[in-house]
Amino acid sequence: MYLNREEEKILEGDEGEVTERMFRLLVRLGDIYAADKMIPVGSVQVAGVSYKSIGDPGTEFLEDMASKGAKVKVLTYLNPAGMDLENWEKIGFPKDFAKNQLRIMNAFKSMGIVVTSTCTPYLAGNLPRFREHIAWSESSAVSFSNSVIGARTNREGGPSALAAAICGRTPNYGLHLWEKRQPNIKIKVNTNLEFNSDFGAIGYYVGKQVKNKIPYFTGIKDANTDQLKALGAAMAASGAVALYHVEGLTPEADLVEKKGLETIDVGKKELDDTYEKLNTGKNPDVVILGCPHASLREISTLAEKLKDKHLKKPIWICTSRVMKEAADRMGFTDIIEKAGGHVVADTCMVVSPIESMGYKTTGVNSGKAANYLPGFCKQEVVFANINKLIEVQT
């Protein structure tokens, strides 16, 4: 791989030990994946933030970097943490967990990383442009930025994204290259998708089928960004889809080569079967929405539906701090709390320790959450659309 003089100097230790070590990781990845050179990145999003996800080994790794004075070179955001960073005590997150989570946040902050913890950075002030090279890592954020925005990122691991932030660069390979962004399978959707959970279910099904391929969807007549967010998140969780195209809706769909692709048909039967498959439990102890983090539109929808209702069992909606501020100001938070729900910021159900908070069955409308909760939170899952989930909690 070609390295310019400045980059060679990083390897000689001119920018300190941590930058050198992180740059070596990037050069290594570049060599493996046959990158021709390094390219500057416009922004970074770092995964591996929850204490539950990275544990003591990850925490010590980050603290070590911070103590050696590592600093990021570009706008860098964080993935959700394991708890609401402001209201953790009120919501009932365990104290010892909180202590460790705050150690992690301090390490990130001292590296100059914006400690707005969200899997939807594009809704919270970190918005790349079409064709901008970035290094993001949360799998649904990668999918959204590549597919819906048309920015260019590989699926970075937590540490490789951090390395890109500290070095301001990433190796030029994979989805940074136009020829690698071409679809290699066609998905023909033959059924109406109404609820956001329908998009999550289709995404879950397709991700299982196509694994790490690049699907080109036809037959999706309309979808807002919340629905595309749900679709991409589920495909990235059940498979490793980092980029998809939707005819008529996503920016690269008209530009890519889609002749002669193998086609998978997805209809009502596949949709119904997926709902059935993802339902492993009955009677949720808690319903958790906002995976990926809810937009203001999703919070307002919930508030509208909960107005003057009293929940027998709680509903959480997870979101970024930025969206919560707006929801507070609009009175949505108030309506949701009066009904017995919570607007939870900075965290989500997958990375928070819900299994140790007494919950055994969780209701979700997200294909991604339904994918992760059984393994990672030892939860039985009720997967349904928002109306049904509210019905069972009231």
């Binding site: 691991g157 994979g174 490793a240």
Partner: protein
């Protein structure tokens, strides 16, 4: 068999083979090295000190930290063999120092085979 070095080193051990991709985050317990993903062909089995063979990674990008954590906690596999190693697994094995080779025809490796991995040369040898 000749493949590509992802992370250097030499090791030898018993193969544990998954025909399905593995997502380390939510898929393998960081404390015990046991596969916890519901319905996964390796569910309930330990990857500790084995040569872990699977086609490719999947799922969350936090997987790199899980691989690093498995090593720190002393419950990591000895080596990893893939058909195609993507960035998440590659970053994890490089940081953790676990020998890893990809571009290997993994269908040739059976569960329980003794396998020698020479990642420096990118080779995998089945010792039967």
């Amino acid at each position: 068999m000749k493949g590509r070095m992802i992370s250097p080193g030499k090791t030898k051990g018993t193969a544990i083979v998954s025909k399905e991709p593995i997502g380390f985050y939510g898929g393998i317990d960081i404390e015990t090295g046991v596969v916890i993903e519901k319905g996964h062909p390796l569910e309930g089995k330990s990857v500790t000190d084995k040569i872990l063979v699977f086609p490719c990674g999947k799922g969350s990008t936090v997987g790199s930290y899980v691989i690093y954590g498995l090593k720190k906690n002393g419950v990591a596999p000895k080596g990893i063999i893939n058909r195609e190693t993507e960035t998440i697994v590659a970053t994890g094995v490089i940081l953790a120092g676990i020998p890893c080779v990809d571009q290997i025809d993994i269908e040739n490796i059976q569960d329980g085979d003794t396998v020698a991995v020479n990642a420096d040369k990118g080779t995998v040898e089945i010792i039967r």
